[in-house]
């Protein structure tokens, strides 16, 4: 099991709209990601990296092709079944942080556990552990408005980690942060991948991509090339 890639994309296409207005965002993406890898996805705007991330995050389904996640073919699952996959195996970090406003950091982190039906006590403990991992336990009772951008993103990472996910998907996690904060976040993600979590991140910046073990370049709806990052060691099949 551990040898099999956790994520396999075969001939994934995605078309938005129909008829003359149809736009093919993905034109047959093949990608395989090993368990525990730290992958940076790069590419210009409109190259299909966000669409790919949405499919990988089980938020969207491909128009054609096969997406196997942990050996399960996701493209044939229902909306609710994909929700179940997300709540069990996936963690999300967004560019805009996407924390619930007027809700404390602790409660934001607890949220995914609520949908798992954990007890209040279990939720609290797990959320505190998770906040501790990102170094924000002292800020547990602060609302997003009372936190800096870097802190908010770390709360978002804590929220993604609280469920012990197999895969962490980060869509331009440093897009709204200055360089110093960005480096902190990337170091945090890098550290997480060391613990066995598969981390996928989309980024525009070479500097940030350098933290990854594998860098995948997208262009015009296809994977252009894959290369080993600064921390090589993962097998990638273009």
């Amino acid at each position: 099991m551990s040898d099999a890639p956790i994520i396999e994309l075969e001939g994934i296409t995605k078309t938005f709209g129909t008829g003359a207005a149809a736009f093919q965002a993905l034109k047959g993406v093949n990608l395989s990601i090993a368990r525990g890898d730290f992958v940076a996805v790069m590419g210009p705007s409109g190259s299909g990296k966000s669409t790919t991330m949405n499919i990988l995050g089980c938020l969207d389904t491909p128009t054609s092709g096969t997406f196997r996640f942990r050996g399960v073919e996701v493209q044939s699952l229902s909306r609710d079944q994909r929700s179940m996959l997300r709540r069990r195996y996936l963690g999300f970090v967004f560019q805009g942080f996407n924390l619930l406003a007027r809700t404390s950091a602790l409660e934001n982190v607890e949220l995914p556990l609520l949908y798992r039906g954990e007890t209040k006590k279990a939720r609290r403990e797990a959320a505190e552990r998770s906040l501790d991992k990102v170094g924000l336990l002292p800020w547990a009772s602060h609302t997003p408005a009372e936190l800096s951008g870097g802190q908010q993103q770390r709360v978002a990472i804590a929220r993604a980690l609280v469920t012990d996910p197999d895969v962490l998907l980060a869509d331009e996690p440093t897009g709204n942060l200055d360089t110093e904060r960005s480096v902190e976040i990337m170091e945090l993600l890098s550290g997480l991948s060391e613990t066995g979590i598969t981390v996928l991140t989309v980024t525009h910046e070479e500097e940030m991509a350098a933290f990854a073990r594998t860098i995948v370049h997208f262009r015009d709806g296809l994977v252009e090339r894959s290369e080993a990052g600064a921390r090589a060691g993962a097998e990638v099949r273009p």
Binding site: L59, D80, R86, R87, R88, L90, F92, F94, N98, Y115
Partner: protein, 403 residues
């Protein structure tokens, strides 16, 4: 696990409502008003019915009250003592019949005076009208027969002229008749004496005494007929009409110059009036509730739009469509329940103060309160479903992108 989820959802709903307190309150106003209107009306209606029934009980049950009535402006002949005796003797089922005569008079005692009315009565009249002599005694046969100067006082008269000291056995003056107080009657609800005056503001004396010393004739102004409840009231009433037409020599085709009031009829009339009023208010309330419900739907749709991003986050981290739907549905139901609760409280205050203002008893009706509350909750489900459904159908990607 479901329960835990529900508890958290409920908590979230409370928090959202608290966050928009004014908006929530204004939204639920339609429901508050609708619920309050129905409950207030039903409560007052119950009070009114109970009040009338008590008055009717004061008139006595299985009782007809017979008044002379003018026909085409001609004054009707008064009833005579013989008419009453005939009713009593000739109609099977009649237990007793007793006439009365009334006159205005001033009561004097020990320097106090009070304008009141003096009413002729005998024990049969008391029995028919359910008048109880509380202290002292009723008139005896001797006093009734010879029309002696004895009197029984209503509570109002006692209060007005007996400032202190013994009442029973006292000598007092009514108009220019000196009489001895032999009893007092218990407190009665208004309406028992007829004419809308205070039923307790009365001095009873034997009918003959009143006729001789006050009205100056042997006429009775109206009489009461008490009948056995094993007879139907329509058969007794028909025989009463036939007998009185015969005795008062009314030709066929001419109208009755008397009127028979049936206490059961009064009851029915009041019930009809109350029923109609309740129906009218219920229709108005239904419209108010409908408008209120649409308001709830509207604000829930606004809320869904405002919180599109939040919905996106929830969906992304793995909330199921039905969980999102449940969250918004719960919020709508909680909102409506608050409306219902406030409506109940408003109704409580309104019906208490209105009952007090128009002198009706306040009778809390748990059924209408519970039904109204449950109905409010159902409103939440009905009008909250569509917005909640819409929230649950949002695409997580679009929702996350929403500004």
């Amino acid at each position: 696990m479901r329960l835990r989820m529900f508890g958290a959802t409920l908590l979230l709903a409370f928090r959202e409502i608290r966050r928009h307190l004014l908006r929530s309150f204004l939204t639920t106003l339609g429901i508050i008003i609708g619920v309050a209107a129905v409950i207030t009306m039903v409560t007052l209606g119950r009070g009114l019915t109970a009040d009338v029934q008590e008055d009717i009980a004061g008139l006595g049950s299985n009782v007809f009250i017979v008044f002379p009535e003018s026909v085409e402006g001609r004054a009707p002949p008064p009833f005579e003592d013989d008419d009453i005796r005939a009713v009593e003797r000739q109609i099977p089922g009649v237990v007793s019949a007793a006439g009365t005569a009334q006159a205005g008079a001033t009561a004097f005692h020990n320097g106090q005076d009070w304008r009141t009315s003096v009413q002729g009565a005998d024990p049969a009249f008391f029995a028919a009208q359910s008048i109880d002599v509380e202290e002292g005694r009723s008139f005896n046969a001797q006093e009734v027969e010879s029309g002696e100067a004895v009197c029984i006082l209503g509570t109002k008269v006692v209060d007005e002229i007996f400032v202190e000291g013994e009442v029973l056995g006292e000598q007092m003056r009514i108009g220019n008749v000196s009489c001895q107080v032999i009893g007092t009657v218990g407190e009665r609800s208004s309406g028992g004496g007829g004419g809308g005056q205070d039923a307790n503001d009365v001095v009873f004396m034997p009918l003959k005494t009143v006729q001789r010393r006050f009205t100056g004739s042997g006429n009775v102004q109206f009489f009461v007929v008490k009948y056995d409840d094993s007879y139907t009231n329509s058969s007794i009433q028909q025989q009463l009409i036939d007998l009185l037409r015969e005795r008062r020599v009314i030709q066929e085709g001419e109208a009755n110059d008397f009127n028979i009031v049936d206490t059961a009829d009064i009851n029915e009339t009041v019930n009809n009036v109350t029923g109609t009023m309740t129906a009218v208010v219920t229709v108005i309330a239904a419209i108010s509730l409908l408008v209120g419900g649409i308001g709830i739907m509207n604000i829930m749709l606004v809320s869904v739009t405002e919180r599109t991003r939040e919905i996106g986050i929830r969906l992304a981290i793995g909330a199921l469509a039905k969980e999102v739907r449940m969250q918004f549905l719960t919020e709508a139901v909680v909102l409506c329940c608050f409306g219902g609760l406030l409506g109940i409280l408003l109704a409580l205050g309104l019906s208490m103060s209105l009952a007090n203002a128009i002198d009706l008893p306040f009778l809390f009706d748990p059924v209408v309160n519970i039904v109204s509350f449950v109905f409010s909750a159902i409103m939440g489900v009905i009008f909250g479903y569509y917005p909640a459904h819409r929230a649950s159908k949002l695409d997580p990607i679009d929702a996350l992108r929403h500004e």
